[in-house]
Assembly symmetry: C2
Homo-oligomer: 325 residues x 2
């Protein structure tokens, strides 16, 4: 059986479709949002990392399929609740759950979806279940911490170290936990599990920095939308924090002023971008991103997985790093 | 060691206080609501039922303490989210989490509290953990279903069978699961576990009916507040549904009219109470309540637990049934 990444993706899509069709129950208002959310699509990066983590140690990725699904289900639970908190009307160009139904339904169906993630883990043998749960609970709490830090930064001042901690918790630890979950199911040694976790955490931070970069510096024709979304939303990403740190008193004031207004126009984006460029925020981000990526790479190379598969996982990560969308 | 109910209660209070002091972390906004909520107090009925379920089979209730805490933690998670959904400003005369902080913090700290409940279950051996989780996940989903049904009934018409299903899911299954959790930890046979579950479910429905009764017919000097809260809030409890079912066309219309107004005065309560009495809604409720109570009692008597402790558990349940507050 060929477990190429394309095959794993199709395995996952089938499994998510099949699973979504089982998410029926009474009352409808509780259950309909669950399959709606899961079928909105997405890159399915998290469950794919679970399968890849398992495959790396030459265990059949089918064995990790339910855990992969659990991680995707958990991720979708966080999206349902995050969308309420961020008051986000759209996700993947469709209405978010709280917009399509209402926020009470979104709170409660999110809760139900989290429980469904735990339910999927109980399909494993008791030994594996215990180990999966310890990792899952720790990660789930960290993701909550990351989301709260993110909300705090909307009003509180933050510096680069806190920002990096926030994206580590909100995004990177879940990617790390996905890889480790796969390794755990494959019966990898705890050293291998930790190395894979460290790989996931570091590339996760690098990916998020890449997101920040693309949002400001992406080429519209490749990026598919006009850059500057984070600037318009006054999101204090790495670029802002870096420019602010390095800026003259006058430029600091201008940045603060620009980020305190709700105006969303090209001139605001242009002014902010000029300050970003003046203080080489892009270059600083790239340096930081590469630092995390190479730390991640080093951790991956320390694992004693199948060496061909290590190469292929690395090139998968590089592709994600070099993406332009 | 004497495991009287009073001792168990004090064991629980100590454990909840100790545990609450461990609920610290960064960011504060995520963690502070957790101990705030847990320390608001309450009857601690759910964790007590876990200990009683364990004690019934002559196992040391200490062994069930972490699971008891998990059930109380889970219950408090549901309260944090329910208070947002119900827009309730007060709980036990203190501000609810979403009022004291805000609804985003309440959503997220509720999520964190649910994860903490799962974390407590992982303290058990792997065999027990698996069995506890299966029961816990099933129950947690049912509680979500019950809450959604309750929200639906605010706008949709309901009849008595649906109302009974709603209170079964929203309230009774958690009490049942608490007792079964204790029995499971004590190593009781699955027959004994099921009988205890059935006891809990049936008395749980009876308790909720008693709540409905007290809210309308409680004596103010004993009840500690003026009766009629459910009527003022237009809550379609058993009494309303029963009176509505039996009422003449004219009285039906009057009931509907009274329950469609937001006015909160004594004359409204008086008019509704007159219709309740005219159609003997209180008597119908008492009959139904006694039916559930005796079904519960019969299930308890089928268990092969310590016979002295069965007696004492039954008298504990009777005291709860005969309460006037």
């Amino acid at each position: 059986m060929n477990h190429s990444i394309a095959n794993m993706r199709s395995l996952l899509e089938d499994e998510i479709t099949r699973y979504s069709s089982t998410l029926k129950g009474t009352p409808n208002e509780l259950y309909e949002p669950l399959s709606y959310m899961l079928l909105l699509g997405g890159k399915r990066l998290r469950p794919l990392l679970v399968l890849l983590g398992c495959d790396l140690f030459d265990e059949n990725p089918d064995k990790a399929l339910k855990a992969a699904l659990a991680m995707e289900v958990f991720h979708n639970f966080t999206l349902i609740h995050d969308d309420i908190m961020d008051n986000a009307p759209l996700r993947r160009n469709k209405e978010t759950v709280f917009k399509k139904w209402n926020s009470n339904i979104a709170i409660l169906s999110g809760d139900a979806l989290m429980i469904k993630a735990y339910e999927l883990l109980t399909l494993y043998d008791k030994e594996t279940l215990h180990d999966l749960l310890i990792l899952f609970n720790k990660t789930a709490l960290e993701v909550c911490e990351g989301q709260q830090l993110d909300m705090n930064y909307e009003t509180l001042p933050a510096a680069i170290p806190e920002y990096l901690k926030m994206i580590e918790l909100k995004t990177a630890v879940l990617l790390a936990a996905c890889l480790k979950t796969g390794a755990l199911i494959a019966g990898a040694s705890s050293d291998n599990q930790e190395n894979l976790y460290s790989f996931g955490k570091n590339i996760g931070i690098a990916f998020q920095l890449k997101d920040d970069l693309l949002d400001a510096f992406g080429e519209p024709e490749k990026f598919g939308k006009m850059p500057g979304g984070d600037i318009i939303a006054n999101k204090k990403t790495f670029l802002y924090l870096r420019a602010f740190e390095a800026a003259s008193q006058e430029d600091k004031m201008q940045l603060e002023q620009l980020y305190s207004s709700a105006q969303a126009n090209e001139s605001k984006v242009e002014k902010v971008m000029n300050i970003f460029m003046k203080y080489k925020a892009k270059e600083a981000l790239e340096t930081e991103m590469e630092k995390y990526f190479s730390e991640g790479k080093a951790a991956l190379l320390r694992t004693s997985g199948n060496s061909e598969k290590i190469k292929s996982l690395l090139s998968f990560a590089e592709d994600l790093m070099n993406r332009e969308v």
